[in-house]
Amino acid sequence: MYIDPHIHMVSRTTDDYARMAAAGCVAVTEPAFWAGFDRSSAAGFQDYFRQLTESEPRRAAAYGIAHHAWICINPKEAEDHGFAREVMSMIPAFLSRPNVLGVGEIGLNRNSKTELAVFEEHLEIAAQHNSLVLIHTPHLEDKLKGTRLILDAIAAHGKINPARILVDHVEEHTVRMVLDRGMWAGMTLYPDTKCTAARAIDIMEMHGTERIWINSAGDWGHSDPLAVPKAVVSMRARGHTAADIHKISFDNPRAFLSQSGNFSVNAPRPTIS
């Protein structure tokens, strides 16, 4: 039994839901993200947020998987500040929906001034609505600088309890600074551009299993929706105990996510739409 706390199921097939259920997935959480192209209007986000909060939970429930969502404009589409503000004005209405856990995945992409301003405005929305926060840290050479900018912005904002913030996509060079600030850290299992399972297990061995989780971040790109159960297999092969495996793949995500009253590992009864 496991939770995949970061996966973009709108980009995955129903067969993936079936395979994940067969591998033991009981719950997923799906942050709002970039579709692979820039949406031409804010109305496109209105439909996307409806998909995340209405359609996708039904699709998941058919396989006994509880589906939850995070709402935001992803940093990859945040370079147009006026457009981003138009989308952000829609967020509060969706935060009260029954499967929504909070604001995410917000953060930085190329570490621009506008991305940072939009990130700070998202933090304020989360603070005003007492929401959990899921944060995307930048890719590759931008990750170290971006993670520092993000952590400094959170500290300067100062209105959100760090224990209610998950900073995702950490790697060897960023995990310690996140944990030292009292936040949770997510490790994304990607074939090439983030953590392999082997490196994620190394990081657990070096930094422990407190306030840390693993996820697939499966999306429309090069990614694997079964990355979490495959990492579980690797942890067994590396000699880790069943207790540690359960903690990293189930107990930890459940503990963080349950800070939102909307999280449950029990999928609603399937409905025919």
Binding site: W34, K76, E79, N109, R110, N111, S112, K113, T114, E115, L116, P138, H139, L140, E141, D142, K143, L144, K145, R148, L149, E171, E172, H173, A198, R199, D202, M204, E205, M206, H207, G208, T209, E210, A237, R238, G239, H240, T241, A243, D244
Partner: protein, 99 residues
């Protein structure tokens, strides 16, 4: 965590048995990638900062100090500290472009 932090549960010999073939394959892939570049027709650019970054990382991988993965990631990272004026595209390159 039920095992001491910093210590893998398995001993060195078992970890070698478990991971050697995969590591061997990855080392060969890197070597073959560099060979491929040598065989390819030259362009007007003599070097590429990304390939230079890989060569520099290999030096780190071969040294005797700990935290090689972390130090390689740091070596590929943008060392600047201030946000940039505007995003120059959406995609990162994988290594920092020296200014």
């Amino acid at each position: 965590m039920t095992t001491p932090i910093g210590k893998p549960p398995l001993d060195r010999k078992t970890l070698i048995d478990l991971g050697f073939i995969e590591a061997r394959a990855k080392v060969l892939d890197v070597a073959a990638f560099l060979d491929r570049l040598d065989r390819a027709p030259a362009t007007d650019v003599m070097t590429d900062f990304r390939v230079d970054a890989i060569r520099a990382a290999l030096v780190i991988a071969l040294d005797a100090s700990p935290a090689r993965a972390e130090r390689i990631l740091n070596s590929w990272s943008d060392p600047s500290t201030q946000p940039i004026a505007h995003a120059d595209g959406k995609a990162a390159r994988g290594a920092h472009l020296p200014r």
